[in-house]
Symmetry: C3
Subunit: 153 residues, 3 copies
């Protein structure tokens, strides 16, 4: 528990830009997670860069690139259509560290809620998510993501 590496809170942006940037990142994650939960595979994959690395504990190995990301969402969709579970991914406690130019490092918490069809909702997982975001043609994209699960820590 004591070895967690937190990102530095300092940011070199002028005040007005920090507020704008923070809102953009919140909007970005909100849309990205809604696409994920709706199993909108291609639009979700497009929120990552072409060469993105996606390293999460539910996968055996990191996924690289949009085709692999989209395939992962299609597997989720098939699995959840069988099980009847609706997942919802929440991001919170978003700590951002603007870097050089159009790059950002983020560290946040991620919760996963599950609701079985006709059943009772519950918290499924509590995670920490660390991203490198880059801005490509005016839009934020995830270039690198590492997720760790509290239950596997």
């Amino acid at each position: 528990m004591t070895t967690e590496t937190l990102i530095r809170a300092e940011h070199p942006l002028p005040e007005a830009e920090f507020g704008e940037r923070y809102a953009q990142v919140q909007q970005f994650y909100s849309h990205q997670m809604q696409l994920f939960d709706a199993h909108d595979a291609d639009r979700w994959a497009a929120t990552f860069t072409e060469d993105a690395v996606f390293d999460v504990p539910t996968l055996d190995a990191p996924v690289r690139g949009r085709a692999g990301l989209a395939a992962n969402v299609r597997r989720n969709r098939a699995q959840q259509e069988r099980s009847g579970d609706q997942l919802r991914h929440w991001i919170g406690m978003l700590d951002i560290r603007p870097g050089r130019d159009d790059e950002l490092h983020t560290r946040c918490y991620a919760l996963v809620y599950v609701t079985p069809r006709g059943g009772t909702s519950k918290v499924l997982r509590v995670c920490v998510m660390e991203d490198v975001l880059v801005r490509v043609r005016g839009k934020w994209r995830t270039r690198h993501r590492v997720v760790t699960r509290d239950d596997l820590a």
Copy 2:
């Protein structure tokens, strides 16, 4: 699960205005939900337009107008005073789409937590909330709300 209609992420606002708008909407929902959970019926109803439509699965039919909205909160208050439950409504994953002039479409997740008096807190419901917000004399108001519950989907 695959038929969910997500709102478009594109927004026509200049950068600085988007950040300002996003913060205003977060502040608006925070205050609106705190009023709701405190059963402050009239002040909560005043965060809706006079002709607002409120369509939620816990009600048999959509409520229209502030008097009906306030009456609904008073029923909640009476019911929760009997049961001893404290509810807390959380908004997250807020996706906003600024429209023409002083209008906004939002799509977000809503969680409801319940704590029985002296008891153990738990997640009660996981919902999706879609609003049309309008700005009236400088203040955001909900004109139309549709909530769906994951357990009833």
Copy 3:
């Protein structure tokens, strides 16, 4: 339930400053809570003013000053290393009321999630948190905090 005192939503800041301020406070809490959950005692204590008052229901009496705050985190660390529990504190429904100069009053909800080592995550507590924040040499600091728990209300 009906006696809760909500803060006023009105704020005297110009629009662009409100958005900036709101983002700063979100960033502040995100970082503060991540430090708390990582048991980073001194850096967490440094997010409070030297003379801060910290009044939470898990402590017998309010803690005053940074040394006491840091000691409290070290006790948490020792306790959680024994139990194997990982706690995560989430802030949401953040309602801010800018005051005079570099001072802010906030009222928000706070959730605590717990994950036992190798076990199942769950909601541990639902709380309401009220802070007075001040800006010292360009950085927000908590000067006064009162937390109430829904299960003890």
